[in-house]
């Protein structure tokens, strides 16, 4: 995979992007306020042409007090992948929505809200996806407790 040149290209358009060496594919971490701008360029610039949002999810780094949002992008034009991620504070996890760029983000983001509690700014229809609207808490967070339904192994 021509991974390294791509990271350099991304850093040229977004100097704040940091390379993540611990991922198994070209991966960058950006400050959350630069996320939407970078995503827009990655989709529209024909040198990247990342037209498919393959996957989006969130990871709860509760000991650091962060939630990491991860986007897996794929370009059907170039056959290239890139992973973009950003970190937001756990107590106010507001992330700009990307559903204006990729329609599927609308539901992938609803899943992340439902299970992880990530709030998406400008999302047209942010609500629970799998769970009931009056569900308390966000089950995929590491500190979620439910006496009746959750059992932890030691």
């Amino acid at each position: 995979m021509a991974g390294l040149t791509q990271i350099e290209d991304i850093r040229r358009i977004e100097p704040a992007a940091e390379e993540r060496p611990d991922a198994d594919r070209p991966a960058v971490m950006v400050p959350v306020d630069r996320l939407h701008g970078l995503m827009q360029t990655l989709r529209d610039d024909q040198a990247f042409a990342f037209d498919m949002l393959l996957d989006h999810t969130a990871i709860d780094w509760h000991t650091d007090g962060d939630i990491e949002v991860i986007y897996q992008l794929f370009s059907t034009l170039h056959g290239q992948y890139v992973q973009v991620s950003a970190k937001v504070p756990r107590d106010n996890p507001v992330v700009p929505t990307v559903c204006d760029l990729w329609p599927i983000a609308q539901w992938q983001e609803r899943e992340a809200y439902d299970l992880m509690g990530v709030l998406y700014d400008n999302h047209p229809d942010l609500r629970r996806l799998f769970l009931e609207d009056d569900w308390q808490g966000f089950p995929l967070r590491k500190d979620y407790t439910d006496e009746d339904m959750l059992e932890r192994s030691k």
Partner: protein, 386 residues
């Protein structure tokens, strides 16, 4: 900065009057969660204007089991046994996707024999899955006979898989490092017998259903999905390929022994229901072709490189790997922290991403057409909910 969170209740009430005339009013129809077209438990709320669909609101979650949460407390070898509960018709490919991600993260090599067995099994599974889909499509559109024929062929393949694997539906067979058990001594002979039979049966499917006038009327030029929309809505698998985008991971990033076989990737030209139908019919023929090339050449050797019941430590880092199930790309995001249990595991299920395109496809069509559209999207609901 505040972010507004909605509820389903404000989403569906109150229905607004249609502005065009005084005589009509928009109204809501609730389909499911128990509905034959749901193929599981999926609730769909339709906002209708007369017979015409104005808006589709899918409400999933009736079979949500929290697999991702469970995965955080299970080792990868234990987690394999949950994956076949997602898309039960692609059970082996689900096993394989998680195994593949774990193997990549932990740097485990797999023997050639195991790779051959995995590929043959996955293609048999795809054949079985598509045969069932064909039957169910017939039933959804009112041809119950097709359902019985589809199940007849599924049974034949199911018997072969059962002899080696020991299960009929929720199959656990592919594990990190190889496969669980060696092939049944009769496997090769039986598979070779069943391939010519399947070929004949797929031709029979064409005679029985494909040329039928009612089926053609209900599939052709209905629910047209452009390639651009299919990509934007994250569609993969036959749904994407029917819209003319030739992306098949078996071809573009060969895993298993797909690089050793010769097969074609069928693509559609219009992107309507019919293309989605016929792409799957062709895929069945291609699956037979793949198995034919492999079945005589299974090399001797070990089937497993990791001691069963052993601990596989996932090094710290974020890993993503995917493969092509019968319905599209199943991606596994694995976050390791150096222990044998993943810190976080996320499954990008093909059906979750294929479902939402219905909110665009069905708008403007009649209520009967959403049945055909849903049927050609070939959704398995437990895979959406996970």
């Amino acid at each position: 900065m505040t972010v507004t969170v909605h509820t389903l209740h404000d989403r569906i009430s109150p229905p607004t009057g249609a502005d065009s005339s005084l005589q009509t009013q928009e109204y809501l129809i609730n389909m499911g969660p128990q509905h034959p077209i749901a193929h599981g438990s999926l609730r769909i709320i339709l906002r209708m204007d007369g017979e015409t669909i104005r808006e589709v609101i899918p409400v999933p979650g009736f079979v949500h089991r929290g697999l991702e949460k469970m995965g955080e407390n299970l080792t990868s070898l234990q987690f394999i046994h949950l994956t076949d509960r997602m898309d039960y018709l692609s059970a082996l490919m689900n096993n394989w996707a998680v195994s593949k991600a774990v193997e990549k993260a932990a740097g485990i090599e797999v023997t050639q024999r195991a790779q051959y067995i995995r590929t043959i099994m996955a293609e048999l599974m795809r054949l079985q899955s598509h045969a069932l889909w064909w039957g169910v499509l017939g039933m959804d559109l009112g041809a119950f006979t097709a359902f019985l024929y589809g199940f007849r062929e599924r049974e034949v393949i199911g018997k072969i898989l059962e002899e080696t694997i020991g299960a009929r539906l929720t199959m656990n067979y592919i594990i990190p490092g190889g496969v669980m058990s060696d092939l049944h001594p009769d496997f090769v002979r039986q598979t070779k017998e069943v391939l010519p039979y399947m070929k004949k049966m797929i031709d029979e499917y064409d005679v029985l259903l494909s040329g039928n006038v009612i089926l053609q009327e209900r599939l052709r030029n209905i629910g047209i999905l452009s390639g651009k929309d299919a990509i934007g809505y994250g569609c993969t698998g036959p749904v994407l390929r029917a819209s003319g985008v030739p992306w098949d991971l078996r071809k573009t990033e060969p895993y298993g022994v797909y690089d050793k076989v010769d097969f074609d990737v069928p693509v559609g030209s219009v992107g309507d229901n019919w293309d989605r139908y016929y792409v799957r019919m062709e895929e069945m023929r291609q699956s037979i072709r793949i198995i034919e090339q492999l079945i005589d050449n299974i090399p001797e050797g070990d089937i497993q490189t990791v001691k069963y019941g052993g601990r596989i430590k996932i090094p710290a880092g974020t890993y993503y790997d995917h493969l092509e199930t019968a319905r599209g790309v199943l991606g596994v995001t694995l976050v390791g922290d150096g222990t044998d249990k993943p810190y976080r595991i996320h499954l990008r299920s093909p059906n979750f991403n294929n479902l939402w395109v219905v909110t665009k496809l069905a708008v403007g069509w009649r209520i009967a057409d959403i049945i055909a559209i849903q049927s050609t999207l070939d959704l398995v609901i437990p895979d959406i909910d996970r």
